[in-house]
Structure formats: C-alpha cells, structure tokens
Symmetry: C2
Subunit: 367 residues, 2 copies
C-alpha cells in the first residue's frame, strides 16, 4: 500500500535563538489509525539524514527508512498504534529549511535561515501533534539524533509523553561528536560551489557534501562490520592498480554513498542540522543531567549497541544513571551487534522484541 | 645543539610497481656517534606526516618530533647509540616525492610520480644504511606508519636487523583504516585548486588538505582525550553564537591544525603516502602473516596503547601471535594511555622505559 505524504502549515515558530520563522511547513506521514481517545499515537523521530517516510512504500516505490520496525505486526504495530513521523525543521524533505523560499524575499533562505536547536525541532513537532488533536503521545522514539529529540520531548513536554525510547544517542554531544560534524561542515564550506550557501538553481557543493557523507558513513559502521563487509577486497582488480582510481571495495562503497547522498540531501541542511546536534546538551541550563531529567514523567527504555563507537553505550548509561538517581522509571538494554551505529536501522531483531514488550506494557497502562 | 640536516643521493631506485626513479634524494639526520664496529646504529622510522628531524633542535629552532625519546640519557640514548632518521620516499621534507623536479621534464613530478609502497620506502632506507657502511642495524623502530616500515625491514632484510620495535601499528591496513585515508584523498582531489595535482607554483589545494588533516586529527586522539582537552567548552564565547563561526574549542583546534598543516605538507605527498599505507599488507604474497614473519631474525618488541582506536591493540596482537606461532622472539606491551593513537608521540614515559630495557639487552648481545 502506497503511503500518502501529508503536509501541515503553521503560522509561526519561535526559536531558541530568539528568531521567529513564519510560516513553517511540516512534511509528515502517518501509519495505522488514531483511536477514539487519541491515546495510541507514537511519534517516530528520524536521524540526521532521515525524513518523514519512515514506513510503507512511497510514491517512488521505496520503503520507509524504518519499515523493518513499523507496520502491521511489527515492533511499532500499526494494527494497534497510530504512528507519526515528520521531517525535521531545517531539513530538505518537505519541512521548512534553508532550501525553502523565504516569503519575505521570494528567494531560498540559504544561510539567512536561523540557526536551530533540537528544542526548536521538537517545538515544531509539538505543534503538529497538537494540530492532530493528540494531547499525550503514547511513545516518542528515535535513534541517534532521533533519540535526542525523544529526550527533548520528555524534558520539554513531560505531560505529553507517556513513554520515551532514546536509541543509540546521547544527552549531549561530546567533543569527538562535534569534531566529526565540524569536519563535515568544513568540507562543505570548503567547496567553492557552496558559495556562501547561495547555490540554489546552480551547481550545488556536491564534492564537499560527498566528502562529508563519506566521513559520516565511516562513523556509522564499526571496524568489525567494515572488515566483514569489505576487508581488503579489491574492486574489479586482481592486484593493486598503482594509480589513484578505486583499488579497494571500501573505496568504491564510500565514493558511491557520497555521490548518492548529493542527489537527495541539501548541503545547507547538513550545516544546520549538524549544528543543532552539536548544540544539544540537556545539562545546559539545568546544572546536571539528573536535574534536567527530574521533571520528566515518561517511562523510559534506553537502548544502545555494543559496537556503536559514535554514540557509545557509556552515553546511554549516563542517561540511565541520571534517570535512576531521580527515581524515574527506566529500563536499559545494551544490545549485541557488530553493525556499529547503523545497528538501530539494520540489526533490528532484538531491538524490535524489547520495544514490542515495552510498548505493550505502556499501552496497557495508557491506551 | 643545532642538528645539521644531511642529504644523500642515489642513482636509481626500483619500485614494486615496476617503475624506476632516478635520481633519488634522501634527507636524513643523525644523532650520537657510530661506533668503530658500526654495531650501534638505530633507525627511527617516522609516521605519516613526520620528517627526518626526529630529535635535537633544528635550524628553525624547533625540536624534533620524537625529541622526548631520542637524546643523551633518553630511551634512544645518543650517548650509546647512533640514531638515524630519514624522510620517507614520496615525502615533501627533503626526500624525493611528487613535489620534486622530474629531471626528464624539468617540472615537478606531480601525479606522474609513481605510486609507491612501504616496501619501496624501506628499500630506499636500506640504500641509505648501506651507504653509511652499516651492515646490520641494532634496531629499527617507529610508530604508526613507522611501525609498518619496521615490520617491512624485518621481513625484507632479516640479516640487517637485530631488533625491531613496531609501535601502534598493523601488519595490514584494515577497511576502516583505508576508508579514513580515502576520505582524506577525496577531500584533496575535490578541491579545484588540486587541479589534477598540478598546483606547484600556484595556489595549493589548501582547503581540501585542511579537511583531510582535520579527519586525521580526530582519529589520532581518543574520545576520552578530546573530552579532557576540549569537552564542550566554548571558544571566546559565553553562549552559543547561533551562527557558523567557531562555537566550540574543539572546532577552533581542528581548524587551526588543518590550516597549519597546509603550510608544511604537500597535498600530493598526502595522496601518495596514504596510498602506500593502504597497500601495506604483509600477508600479501605469503599466504599468512605467520609465513611472512617466519624468515625474520630480529628480536621484536611490539607496543600498543589501550585507547588507540585507529591502530587498536588487536592488530598488534595479530603480529605478536604470528611471531609466536613461528617461535620468533617477541615481547608485547599494551601500555595504558588516554591519548589514543597520539600516545606514542606524547605519552612516552612508560614507552621510554620498556624501550630502554629492551635496547639494553639487544645491545649487550649485539654491540
């Protein structure tokens, strides 16, 4: 069944920077049916390069990015739950972002787009949820940057969140995480085609964006999974080429993933969304993570993966320990996987089981 | 005392690719005195971006890159040993590389420079050692790419190596290691100023090279050491700037290190030397690492560091286990350090002690 993309428009959105955006469009999709009491809604929060198309088959024939987790009988069982996913603020897949037209000028915002935060992204999602008449979400769930949003939801709107599942994420970006994002930004801004962000209608900074994406892909995989997938296998060669064409399979993979990304992602969105992640710090303004999480009312299920070195398990444990220190209800699962950070997207068998069980309990109490 | 840079020239060098280079210049430095029997020579092998200036004070007033390890009374005690360090083939610090003038054309080689291997780098070093009248080195030692050269020496010239100390290295580059190098190469080649490698006498591809170096620096540090050194500290700001200038200390550091590197390193050398590392695979042509190491005659001391995730300890253990499986003489030290891959350069107290003791024994047997 083909999923219909949906769109909502809001008159204005106040941002943490003090700026205001108006209007703001939100692209979203829904799967399953909202029940009469509107108590079975689950908000899925996408990662950095994701979009609203989380499940089902799109008009382009492509399955959603978490179709292995969302659908009839799946972990997010659409026979039981009403699942919503929206593209994030600052994105380039239907929600207002730097590539959107600024109504004040008639031109794309480009770098005049205001710098946004995870708090802003979640504030816009709250407006969408309100507009659907949903007062309280049964669950907010996401991996990586989606997990940051899940945490932000629980902190910003404690009465609107019955449960939260932050996966492979952190309560604040570390120096190393900021560093990897900064390299990506510098790669884009070093590309002359970036042109201060003004490339719309022209050649986009594809070379810089591809390099940024290549760095990203290395951090999403584990040393082990790269060894298993590529090892030192040569690409279409019996021996070293002694040139600078592709020698190794892993080079071919990275070049392909880099160039593919350029076709579907906006370089300025890369800048803005990575910045939002780098600014993410729940400690900020609260003194401690425990203090920040104290006012949450959700049940938590925190998930991390053994081989994820980009968002290592110790960062999930910081969240778990902070919640426990304030007697919040939290379960923690460190799942064994060789897939690195990608595990939450590709190695989902165990993850599906723990989420299914957790959701069933939350549903018994709240639906 | 200021160290005098030295230079040697060789008529020609045969390369693994089948090509021949002629002539070939080698920049090197020496510290201490060669004894009458020429049995106290130690060859120090530099890492990717190093050079021949390993110890003492250069004409520019700068100490050598391993001055904390080499000198009177230090681990490589120049009162006892004659220490040699040369810039690698393909480099840009005095030894022939892509920025050198091709005598056949009168222009820099640029990308007409032949692709080289660690084997080629070591073959040229052997010519230098021969020219100094040294038949057998008391020790070959280096970290990272220097460790690859140490291993290659032990395999290629078993009778010329009494002992070898490969530090923080591998017997073959993994998919992840190749991937990080490939990202650096792509960043350079994506810079329009790279211009197919023909930028000598013009603006070099500084933006691409800086991005490549930034990626490198992240891999040289550990998550922990970045947290200790930078954390989330802001740079000259009380709060987020909500712009794309520098917010965080770690961003400032990376940008600085990137731009600084452009002043001292040649982008084409980056391409050639990373390629040599990626091609490094002692298993290649031998069937197994144990078979490759079987004909070595050196005593080995293998060193790795707990927080080094770029050249993790398991890669050192592969070397150790292969040597042990063929009854070669090998000691292994995994040293505790938070400094990541940089540890062999900056966290040297324990490393100095184990090397001092190892060398003393080798010297008793061989000097």
């Amino acid at each position: 069944m083909v999923v219909e993309p949906k769109q909502a428009r809001f008159e204005s959105l106040s941002l943490d920077s003090g700026a205001t955006l108006s209007p703001v469009d939100v692209a979203y999709e829904t799967y399953g049916e909202l029940n009469r009491n509107k108590t079975n809604a689950v908000l899925i929060l996408h990662a950095f390069s994701g979009d609203a198309h989380a499940a089902g088959i799109g008009h382009d024939g492509k399955p959603g990015w978490w179709d292995n987790m969302i659908g009839p009988g799946k972990a997010f069982d659409t026979d039981r739950y009403f699942v919503i996913c929206s593209n994030v603020l600052g994105g380039c897949r239907g929600t207002t972002g730097p590539s959107s037209i600024n109504p004040a000028t008639g031109c794309p915002y480009a770098m005049t787009f205001p710098v946004i935060t995870i708090g802003d992204i979640v504030r816009l999602q709250k407006m969408l949820i309100d507009s659907l008449g949903i007062e309280r979400l049964l669950c907010v769930c996401g991996g990586s940057m989606g997990g940051m949003q899940a945490l932000q939801w629980a902190v910003s709107y404690p009465d609107a969140v019955a449960s939260a599942i932050p996966i492979a994420t952190t309560a604040r970006h570390s120096a190393q995480q900021i560093a990897f994002n900064e390299v990506g930004r510098q790669a884009i801004m070093a590309d002359p085609d970036w042109n201060g962000g003004n490339y719309y209608g022209r050649k986009p900074p594809g070379r810089g964006l591809a390099v940024a994406r290549m760095v990203g892909h290395i951090t999403y995989m584990s040393d082990d999974s790269m060894r298993e997938k590529f090892g030192r296998r040569l690409r279409h060669r019996e021996q070293y080429g002694f040139d600078f064409e592709v020698d190794f399979e892993v080079e071919s993979y990275l070049r392909y993933r880099g160039s593919q990304f350029v076709d579907r992602f906006d370089a300025n969105s890369y800048l803005y969304i990575t910045k939002a992640m780098d600014y993410f710090d729940l400690v900020n303004g609260h003194g401690s993570l425990a203090a920040a999480l104290e006012k949450t009312k959700a049940r938590f299920l925190v998930i991390s993966f053994t081989s994820d070195w980009l968002y290592p398990s110790y960062q999930s444990l910081e969240i778990v320990n902070a919640l426990r220190s304030r007697n919040r209800d939290v379960a923690y699962c460190e799942l064994a996987s060789n897939y690195g950070h990608d595990a939450f997207l590709v190695d989902v068998a165990e993850q599906a089981e723990v989420i299914r069980g957790f959701l069933a309990r939350v549903a018994r109490e709240n639906v």
